[in-house]
Symmetry: C2
Subunit: 301 residues, 2 copies
Amino acid sequence: MGLVLADDLLGRGLQRIQREVDAAFDAILPVPEDARASLVEAMRYAAIGGGKRVRPLLLVTVAEMYGASRQAAVRAGCAIEAIHVYSLIHDDLPCMDDDDMRHGKPTLHKAFDEAIAVLAGDSLHALAFELLAMREISPDPFIRAEMVAALATASGHNGMAGGQVMDMVADGEEFDLHTVTRLQQLKTGALLGAAVEMGAILGKVPEEARGHLRAYARDIGLAFQIADDLLDHDGDEEKAGKALRKDAEQGKATFVSLMGADKAREQARALSDQAVGHLVQHGKEADLLRALARFVVERDR
Amino acid sequence: MGLVLADDLLGRGLQRIQREVDAAFDAILPVPEDARASLVEAMRYAAIGGGKRVRPLLLVTVAEMYGASRQAAVRAGCAIEAIHVYSLIHDDLPCMDDDDMRHGKPTLHKAFDEAIAVLAGDSLHALAFELLAMREISPDPFIRAEMVAALATASGHNGMAGGQVMDMVADGEEFDLHTVTRLQQLKTGALLGAAVEMGAILGKVPEEARGHLRAYARDIGLAFQIADDLLDHDGDEEKAGKALRKDAEQGKATFVSLMGADKAREQARALSDQAVGHLVQHGKEADLLRALARFVVERDR
């Protein structure tokens, strides 16, 4: 992936999960020899390569901390990544953000066409739940059903999709910091929270420890979004692999427009520190989560 | 719903399930008092009122034949209907079929806008799996996980969405009867099959009886699509509540273009009879399924 990371542990962790997620999608999505070929090729174009895989890494790390099988966790990681990828495909459509570039290559509707982009998104959406319902995730159907519930709630109108609509409305309205925070908790935070929650479900994490993990997820979710606003404000388009400076053009209320860039950067770092604080009960096995908390505020893409 | 039906049993059955599904969606989708209001209003616009509710009726009838709770079955019926409704919303988009009317009222992207239509479809898609994963469906998580698997498989790239892409390709290619049959088995048949399968999962139907129900679903699925082609060919636009004569305009291969209208009508009736034949082990409790098999080939919308 060519990410330059100060932290070797995180660099290795990301590279490993990127390889695993790519290999799993490759195995899960063979191209059929019929008229559906273009659909599956489009799903593969969007799902294989290019993503940071932050959500699968969160899920797998939490699940492994509590002794779950890495193979099962990677499959669950593919499920949450399929949701993330479908949301990017639909987000990039002309009637939505109308973006031409994603992960340094043409967006799906540019590389294929809009109809295929809608249907490839829909198919990845269905694939997420198909993966979670399979026995490969866990022999215990309770775990499978709980993961479906966590992911569906986090991605629907009370989660990610709801946040996206709030974000669209934000283009036209004056939002305050409270509303922008709530918007981002839904738009980005809900799915990052689901990644940690699904890892906890797979690892059968006891309720008290789950509370600390949820607090960690909440803090890095917000830090992640503030960093995203900062990236949009002063990032490098080539490194980011997508168009930037869109928020200011649209006059959208963001953490940066509401707090100023310096204050926003300070806040993101404070949230990152606070996230690490929630891991105090854990030893070395949580080092990757600590590194991830630092990475989300320091990344350049 | 104002459907004129020769068969009173079916008429009452459809009216009852229409009321129940509408009431359930109304309860499940309260409009929030924040910027997500327009999203949930759009979901309600598409999901409440207007649909025939054939899939929920199939699911509920099979589940009740085997003693499952009607309330749980109606919730599962809402899940499969949410998938059907989301697919219609996305299908109607300008980049897809570009339809202005659906169920006798403006399509969702006409009544709201395209971005909301994409996101309302996505949110109904997520809602389907959220509903199935909830304890209200069944205290047994195995039943919930199996229903998620059945619905996700039937709606993704190996089911409905795959069939839709084949259908798009059909606009440009010469398809034979074998390919059109396969296409329709995916595009329409998979979800009708899932309705019966999900009813069977909820009713814990023994494997042998499930085989007969699957054969019934396969036959009515194909009969349903042939009837749809006939409706597009010689139906009444006002009754249908949508634009017709689109297949011929697009030069698309359909059962009617490949077999001729008379032969297609004959074939639909033969499939309907064959579907009824698969219910021979059942008594009066399957009368609604028999009436439905006749209805799918005789409907005018």
